[in-house]
């Protein structure tokens, strides 16, 4: 197997690391000296629920209903996680049970 030249690979990794940390640090650097405007206070409160909604939808975006198993393992296991968590509010129980159910369903369906 012909490997890519090491300086190129390490250079690309360095660039990726710099860009990623820049994305993560931008808001902190921007508001280090200045006070965030009131609208940022408002957004701080409602961004987490909105992002969690988008991340759940992101997990389901590639789902195909056109062919077997019609997205049933994903939907059923996800509902099981949500209902179990509403009922018992035990994070590990909800996640382990839902994941186990999913692993079974994708093998039998």
């Amino acid at each position: 197997m012909s490997a890519a030249p090491l300086p190129y690979v390490l250079g690309a990794i360095l660039a990726m690391a710099a860009v990623t940390v820049m994305c993560r640090a931008t808001p902190f650097l921007f508001f280090m000296k200045r006070k965030p405007p009131a609208v940022v206070d408002y957004l701080q409160k409602y961004i987490p629920p909105m992002i969690m909604t988008a991340l759940v939808i992101n997990s389901y975006k590639g789902l195909s209903f056109a062919a077997r198993p019609y997205g049933i393992p994903e939907i059923a296991s996800g509902l099981a996680v949500a209902l179990l968590h509403l009922w018992r509010r035990n994070t590990l129980l909800s996640i382990f049970s839902g994941t186990a159910l999913y692993m079974v369903l994708i093998r039998v369906m």
């Binding site: 190129y8 808001p27 409602y46 992101n58 996640i95 999913y102 692993m103």
Partner: protein, 229 residues
Amino acid sequence: MSSSVDRRATRAAFEASVPVLLGYITIGIAFGLLLQRSGQSWWIASVMSLFVYAGAAQFMAVGLLAAGTSIAEVAVLTFVLNARHMVYGLSLLDRFAACRRFKAYLVFALTDETYGILTTVSPPPGVSPEAFYARVSALDQAYWVIGSTLGALIGGLIPFDTRGIDFALTALFIVLLVEQIRSVKKAAPYLVATAASGLALLAVGPTNFLIVAILAAIVGILPFRKALP
């Protein structure tokens, strides 16, 4: 800080991070295996997971590096994929304001999953938020580094059928969403985010969906400022 408080912080952080343990080890193994099979030395996987630490971007990089894509293009694509993290920080300004020693690391290590835990799970009573945040962040990254290194070294030898275990991360996001609904009992943010996600899927398709959805949600929640507290 006394050592019993330290132990409680570590214990709580470990418990909060167990779902990430399942997801990051298995997805990390998949990443390491893929990278090693693309012709890279095994330790490149560890270096990437230590210094880049961004799952989706690392998977993307496997193909880009194998194809010899220019470093400038790699940087631009990484930016498009990770721009959503700018928004994450925006909602952590207050939470991280009191952090000192570990603040730089907390910002560096802010993945989707760690963000979800830090914004949703409260530190146990008596434990400083920073101590809890730092432990969750470091544990999550340790799982990712260990998983990707294992995958690159011995991924091909793993005899178990782990297919589907990565559903743990989907389950984690569902649990965190349920917890958000318990604490933010207003319909607007969830409806706005769902509508924004639908529009984003229609507009750009699944590939760059997340950043478009999040930006659209932020714009969409602004008109509710008078109505929400």
